[in-house]
């Protein structure tokens, strides 16, 4: 028995961290947030070359066949860099298609995901909760309705949509009856879109015994990956706060010597460090089909939302007035953590879901 990252997992993490530290500067983040898509294209291509889209694609379909533990560890690294490109679309599409598609469709799509030729936008938000009555209806095999907060839409060739019954559908972005609107959010480090479907033809994934299971598994994976992203972003903010406190002098000494400042940093570390084990454990439970897995995904998402919010706010305060400036750029992390808190359900929503899964409801 052992509950630690293996040497291979650490190496994988270091490889991606090395790529990101060479290729994602604060300037790049700023450009991406300003709407310059060339940055996310360049980083996305680099991550594809490193094999990230193939991570969760089963080996027999040309992928790496790794698990959510590896995915979460890498997502943590992406969050730490507030990387404007990632592999959420590929990871979630791999889970959904491997879980629900026919053999023929798997053979067609999974190798294309692995190579980066097929890039998936993920329209799953309504599976966790619908805002503005959004949702997708199916009539005569065609999709009608709206999907909000679709992830990874900017570079997408395909869309994976969960309809209101939880059945998954695949279509290409240039299909008739598909309209995309880019949503402007606080978080410039990711693209968010809204898709409108008007009688759009799509291929339903009918290979699952119980419709909705693959969508729910995608959702559990999404919760864990978002939690991991927050973990990385929050750890970065804590490290930045500790560094800044060591450099900034007031009253003739570094502010890191003042207990008021030290205790803020200690509280961040004390709350954040156990989150790392929680994310690992939730990912491990997902990979091993633990019956508690879906509960742990909700707990990890909700707990990282709360802890991330605390760290984002406290680390900004340690930076004093500088933390509030655009110049320092700390706000990109603050906003990414803020966006993660709401995506696929805020903490109240995910805790209610955890309670429901345990039968603690009236």
């Amino acid at each position: 028995m052992g509950f630690a990252l293996s040497d291979d997992q650490r190496l994988l993490q270091e490889t991606i961290a090395g790529f990101l530290s060479n290729n994602v500067t604060l300037d790049d983040v700023r450009k991406a947030a300003g709407g310059d898509n060339s940055v996310s294209d360049r980083i996305g291509d680099g991550l594809t070359e490193l094999g990230l889209p193939a991570l969760l694609v089963p080996k027999e379909y040309g992928g790496l066949g790794l698990g959510l533990v590896e995915a979460a560890v890498l997502q943590e690294t992406l969050g730490s860099a507030v990387s404007p490109a990632g592999f959420t679309g590929a990871a979630l599409a791999s889970i959904g298609i491997a879980g629900a598609a026919s053999e023929e469709l798997k053979t067609e799509l999974l190798p294309a995901i692995a190579s980066g030729a097929a890039r998936f936008a993920i329209a799953l938000s309504e599976r966790s909760g619908a805002r503005d009555n959004a949702g997708i209806k199916v009539e005569g095999g065609r999709l009608t309705g709206t999907a909000l907060f679709v992830l990874d839409a900017a570079r997408a060739t395909h869309i994976l949509v969960a309809d209101s019954e939880g059945v998954l559908h695949v279509l290409t972005v240039d299909e008739n009856g598909v309209g995309r609107t880019v949503l402007s959010t606080i978080d410039g480090t990711r693209d968010y879109a809204e898709y409108r479907f008007d009688n759009a033809p799509a291929t339903p994934l009918t290979g699952e015994n119980q419709p909705g299971m693959a969508a729910d598994r995608m959702l559990a994976a999404a919760l864990i990956l978002i939690a991991a992203d927050t973990l990385g972003a929050a750890q970065h903010m804590l490290d930045a706060a500790v560094d800044y406190a060591g450099e900034r002098e007031q009253f003739g000494r570094p502010i890191a010597q003042f207990q008021a400042v030290k205790h803020m940093c200690a509280e961040m570390a004390a709350k954040l460090e156990p989150c790392r084990a929680l994310v690992w454990h939730a990912a491990y439970a997902f990979d091993s089909d633990d019956p508690e897995g879906p509960i742990m995904a909700c707990l990890a998402k909700a707990h990282l939302a709360e802890t991330g919010t605390f760290v984002a706010r406290t680390a900004t305060e340690v930076h004093g007035g500088m933390g509030f400036t655009d110049l320092l750029g700390l706000h990109f992390w603050f906003k990414r953590i803020g966006a993660n808190r709401q995506l696929f359900g805020g903490p109240e929503k995910t805790r209610a879901e955890a309670a429901r899964l345990q039968g603690w409801t009236a």
Binding site: M1, G2, F3, A4, L5, S6, Q9, V69, V242, A245, G246, R253, P254, A256, Q257, F258, Q259, K262, H263, C265, A266, E267, A269, A270, K271, E273, P274, C275, R276, A277, L278, W280, H281, Y284, S288, M296, L299, A300, A302, H303, E306, P347, E348, R351, A352, A354, A355, W360, T361, A362
Partner: protein, 397 residues
């Protein structure tokens, strides 16, 4: 990452559980006084079977197994799961014995380790003083050499089990001229030595969980010193390390959480079960996430120990986070009971003999004791994050 136990450990776990369940008629636990023959017999049986004092060498009265943290963990889980009375975990067993094994003379080990493990000798700890709490090294209880004896004068506080103890392990100042960390010695002596007075200290729970101990011209032999005279600070730090490991056990938090779920299912407000109230449920799940985080963190710390690695930050946060979490769990239980949570002592309608109320108060003591939360934050900041110490104030003439 692999959380499966494998056949050897599964067999060990099953054998432990089976032994505990099959010896149910010998169970004798916390309801009985410390020296009750039934309790001592149960403790002896546990040592003989290797479920207590497991890794302590047999020549000193232990079971003599090789250290195996996973087996130790499985044993403690088996006690929790079966409800069997756990082995003694008093200050003698948890703190004095490891210290003697590390720093004591052969005579001291022979004299005290076995008796302490078997519960025949009860110990108390004389560290804190009214003027030396977080700044423990400023302690002033003095031990002056007089021929072949030390003469001790001073006062200790927060001394649990002092009234029952046969012996005390105690920090005293043997060299008033040395720098404060260097003039201290670690001594062990009998509590019935003339000149020792114990006064109970009633705490907010209403019970004398602690005492004050006064020393007036207490004469003790020279060989009561553990390690060398003047080395007491280093000897004590070996002990404090063991104490911090004792507090904030994540399995205890999990047990509490499950008890609160049951409480929320049985308590009602306006005829509605508390667990059906979404506001209370949200608080429950919020704490559940923290319990799961601390449990996973505990697995991570254990894995590091198994490999002989330092657990780093994951280890440093356990006392602070674990004690805080236990306190918050007790706080939720009281809110679940509402007005019924006010009840305390012998009274109608009291739930679970007032144990949640007691824990809510006692846990606040644990947040303060064994290194306050603020001292823990200094440790996390300095040792974990590498932040600088606060500079010593300039002394002006």
């Amino acid at each position: 990452m692999d959380l499966s136990l494998g056949p050897e450990y599964e067999a060990f776990r099953d054998a432990t559980t089976e032994f505990l369940l099959s010896s149910k008629e010998k169970w004798s636990g916390s309801g009985l006084p410390m020296r009750d023959p039934l309790r001592l017999a149960w403790q002896k049986l546990l040592i003989d079977q290797g479920y207590a004092a497991r890794t302590i060498p047999a020549r000193y009265g232990g079971y003599g197994a090789e250290p195996d943290i996973l087996k130790s963990r499985l044993i403690s889980e088996a006690f929790a799961q079966t409800g069997a009375p756990p082995p003694f975990a008093n200050q003698g067993v948890s703190m004095l014995v490891p210290t003697l094994l590390e720093k004591g003379s052969e005579e001291q080990k022979q004299a005290w380790v076995g008796k302490t493990l078997r519960g025949e000798t009860i110990w108390c700890q004389g560290y804190s003083e009214p003027g030396a709490g977080s700044d423990l090294a400023s302690l002033r209880t003095s031990a002056a050499l007089d021929g072949d004896e030390y003469v001790i004068n001073g006062q200790k506080i927060w001394t649990s089990t002092a009234a029952q103890a046969d012996m005390i392990f105690c920090l005293v100042r043997t060299d008033p001229d040395a720098p404060k960390h260097h003039g201290i010695s670690y001594m062990i002596f009998a509590m019935d030595t003339p000149g020792i007075e114990v006064r109970p200290l009633i705490d907010m729970t209403g019970s004398p969980n602690f005492n004050e101990v006064f020393f007036t011209d207490v004469r003790v032999p020279l060989d009561c010193v553990v390690g060398e005279p003047g080395q007491g600070w280093a000897v004590a730090n070996a002990t404090l390390k063991h104490e911090r490991g004792m507090l904030g056990d994540p399995n205890a938090a999990k047990t509490r959480l499950l008890a609160i779920v049951e409480l929320m299912k049985s308590e009602t407000l306006d005829g509605e079960r508390i667990i059906d109230n979404p506001v209370f449920r949200d608080r429950l799940v919020k704490l559940q996430a923290e319990v799961y985080a601390m449990q996973a963190n505990g697995m991570r710390v254990m894995t590091a120990s198994l490999k002989g690695d330092s657990a780093g930050m994951a280890g440093l946060v356990i006392k602070l986070q674990g004690c805080e979490l236990n306190h918050q769990l007790a706080g939720l239980a009281i809110d679940v009971m509402g007005e019924l949570g006010l009840l305390y002592g012998e009274t109608p309608r009291i739930r679970d003999r007032g144990s949640w109320q007691w824990r809510y108060m006692y846990d606040l003591g644990l947040i303060i004791g064994g290194g306050t939360a603020q001292i823990q934050k200094n440790i996390i900041a300095e040792r974990g994050l590498g932040m600088p110490r606060e500079p010593k104030p300039q002394v002006t003439a």
